[in-house]
Amino acid sequence: MPSSAVTAGTPQAAHADAAAVVIDGVVKHFGHVHALRSITARIHYGRLTGLVGPDGAGKTTLMRILAGLLVPNAGHATLAGHDVVRDNDAIHVASGYMPQRFGLYEDLSVMENLRLYAQLRGLDADRHAGLFADLLEFTRLGPFTARLAGKLSGGMKQKLGLACALMARPRVLLLDEPGVGVDPVSRQELWRMVQALTDEGMAVVWSTAYLDEAERCESVLLLNQGQLLFDGPPRELTAQLEGRSFRLEDVGAGRRAILAEALGLDSVSDGVIQGAGVRVVLRAGAPVEPVAALADAAQLQLTPVPARFEDAFIDLLGGGPGGSSALAERLPPVELGSDIAVSCRNLTKRFGDFTATDNVSFDVHKGEIFGLLGPNGAGKSTTFKMLCGLLRPTAGEAHVVGHDLRRASGAAKSRLGYMAQKFSLYGLLSVRQNLEFSAGVYQLEGDTRRERIAEMIETFDLGDWLSATPDSLPLGHKQRLALACALMHRPPVLFLDEPTSGVDPITRREFWTHINGLARKGVTIMVTTHFMDEAEYCDRVAMLSRARLIALDTPDALKRTAARAGRADPTMEDAFIHLVESADLELAGTA
């Protein structure tokens, strides 16, 4: 059977000029929360359309409306010519939908899941064999048909979800954040598959909060707070910013100070650290001279760079936050007995016969921002948890500020701050009670306690929210509160576990402003992340794969390893993929 049988092999020519999806004034609200405010757009066949926006922008709501799972409060939407409300049954036939969370049965095997979806889609049992063979080849899941879906890796789960959504040759494929929780290697595989599908005439909608993913789409719908900010090819949007993006090259150790200084200029709307350099975006119509003067004063080279989609997005939202952190300004410089804040030697953790962390050693210097990167299941979280005293190592040793984590984990814990994924705030306590609780946990008493809490409230501008619950806070404030709780006892070492997943770019910038400020005061930062551009903020990055440390260097040095002919300026993502793949090859070679 030809591979086109998997996908939309039916003649699409007749629909070539008709839009795959027509969205006309769609409004959706849940109670008093406005998820979508009058969205109007078209999505075309044979194209990959990105549905782009930060968390809470309304992406999932729009996806569910298109999949016929939610009914809009006003407006209309049609998919492949069928109204999503009136012809609901036809929608389920014409569309393939992959929900955000892995929606397949984890206690069924790969093949059982495929069979179930084939039958639910009304496919003829006799034709299964050929169809399954195609899908398994397409997704490269062939060797795993008997494995329970729950035991697949994050990337393989997404591919299985894709296979199930593709089952009945949908005309329109709706993928809700397929890239979340998927490492760059698996993400590249997904791109490859989606590319093949659009080449055959299918309309694919890929929703994402990663702005670098948006850049790869042929067309994007950019959503923010329920409003459509932009509809068209990403190039068109970035073209508006051409000539406004610059990079200060090889800034080196002073780059955080330079970034803060650049963000303080009126002419600069946005800036981020990129390896040893600092990337700045000018406001519309602003002169380049002030930045050039800054570069001259610091004897740095200023080069124009191509605009990125993210630059355009931040610009659409009115620019990023300023560069100074009120928090860091108040903080006294950290004094430590030694230059090494965190160290581990031959750190190993086994769960039964599974080795999650295998013989990992490194030192982290005082005031360093140290990143832990790696594909899903590489052992990042396990290593991280051992370093902050949440897991006991099977072998090897780890020290935080000189305290041995195996013998004095209590003493070590009192010297580190920890900010967990999803912030882990107490939803039933008010903002003030959350602050008081964390002050209590770290045994702050009397005047110190009152002063410290008042200081956090003032620094993070939480005064208006004291009696609100954390869940009712805007995301940015929620993140500030979590950071305030983790910093209450002024720890010299701060652990951040995927601190910005699901956070919009503006809030992320604000967060990194604080982190940069802290690092300048000598606080040591340990961070895990899935965002490759966040890895650029790190002084050094440790790359883990299959439980082993495969690389440890500055972001720029890591990127250089991936340089080759035709790719002079590799991105962090290129470096990631390159390193993981060559480590796998090496492993295969020795085995």
Partner: protein
């Protein structure tokens, strides 16, 4: 229609695979009934036998001795004989004894004195009201029997009572409890398990994925009900076999009637599970609601443990809404009396009506999409 039946069979097959792979399902369906039946067969007994009491013999007379001896003649009481009430009072307080009988020092004189009735004091532990009642009644009975045997001159009783207990001649509570236990097991499987597995689909996001296929909510729910109906029937059969062959409960009615009753009871049980699942989208909440609206009422208000006739009128009225009440009633009849259709038919009608109501409510409450 063909597409519908294909989807249904795929859903039923999937659900069966999941049920078979989930150890907790099998535990609830097969291990739990066994545990419950053993518990009700051996551990729980509503019969008070060998109740420990004290007999305080303050009188040394022959009649007093004879009365005391009469207390050891009954299997319902387990008397300890002492001569001073202070010896037993502490034991009553510490719970070692459930009551004591005092045969006072002037017992002989009162017995001899014409017209005066001999006085015997009975002290019972009121913190166990049921047992206290037993102690009082048994002790009264012992005294009266002894008195009747003593006084040949006393006027013969005009009416002699000769009690017979139908259906459960030995008055063994086990025989009445085990059929009731089957109703509890069926409630757990029908209501709790169903509510849990539907809530699990919402919780894990699988419902969203399945809903985006041509399968409708109704098909998805029927695909859930059929396997659990079968599981419930299998568990009933197993429990009935255990009751008859291991616990010696007679099955005086027919197996067909038993199966019919069970099948009809599954209607309200599953309907209630569905209704709960349409309200609760996480397993914890579903389990809590199932516990309070399904399991506890069928435990307390079905007449399984506590007799409905003994309940106050408002509670009695509430029991009419509990499907397990009708099932317990019918089950007891089927096991202990036989196929009495005059009992079964109203019970079956009541269960079917309540079940229909649950399904109607569940149908209204179940959203067809993610709204």
């Amino acid at each position: 229609m063909n597409a519908v039946s294909q989807r249904l069979s795929a859903l039923v097959y999937k659900e069966s695979l999941q049920a078979l792979r989930d150890p907790s399902t099998l535990l609830i369906a097969f291990a739990l009934p066994v545990v419950l039946l053993f518990l009700f067969a051996y551990a729980v007994s509503l019969d008070a036998r060998d109740v420990r009491i004290g007999v305080v013999l303050e009188s040394e007379g022959a009649s007093a001795q004879a009365l005391a001896a009469a207390f050891s003649g009954t299997r319902y009481l387990d008397p300890r004989f002492v001569h001073d009430r202070r010896e037993v009072a502490d034991k009553l307080i510490s719970g070692e004894l459930r009551g004591y009988v005092v045969i006072p020092h002037d017992f002989e004189q009162r017995l001899a004195g014409r017209g005066s009735v001999p006085l015997v004091q009975i002290i019972t532990d009121g913190s166990y009201p049921n047992t206290a009642n037993y102690v009082e009644n048994y002790a009264r009975g012992v005294v009266q029997t002894w008195r009747a045997g003593l006084d040949v001159a006393a006027p013969p009783q005009t009416v002699a009572l000769e009690p017979r207990y139908w259906f459960n001649a030995e008055l063994e509570s086990r025989r009445a409890l085990i059929p009731g236990a089957i109703a509890i097991v069926m409630t757990i499987i029908g209501t709790m398990l169903t509510a849990l597995v539907v809530a699990r689909e919402w919780e894990r996001g699988t419902m969203e994925a399945v809903l985006s296929t041509p399968a409708s909510v109704v098909e998805i729910l029927i695909g859930k009900l059929l396997p659990y109906f079968t599981l419930g029937m299998l568990a009933t059969l197993g429990a009935a076999a255990l009751a008859v062959f291991v616990f010696d409960v007679p099955l005086r009615g027919s197996l067909a009637a038993l199966l019919l009753l069970s099948a009809v009871f599954m209607v309200p049980a599953l309907g209630q599970g569905l209704l709960i699942s349409s309200l609760a989208r996480n397993q914890f909440l579903a389990a809590q609601i199932a516990l309070f609206t399904g399991f506890l009422p069928s435990f307390m208000l079905s007449g399984f443990l506590y007799e409905i006739d003994a309940m106050p009128a408002p509670v009695r009225a509430i029991t009419r809404l509990i499907p397990a009440r009708y099932f317990v009633d019918s089950l007891k009849t089927a096991f202990l009396a036989g196929d009495i259709w005059a009992v079964f038919i109203p019970d079956v009608l009541a269960m079917a009506t309540i079940g229909g109501l649950f399904f109607w409510l569940a149908r209204r409450a179940t959203r067809k999409n993610l709204e």
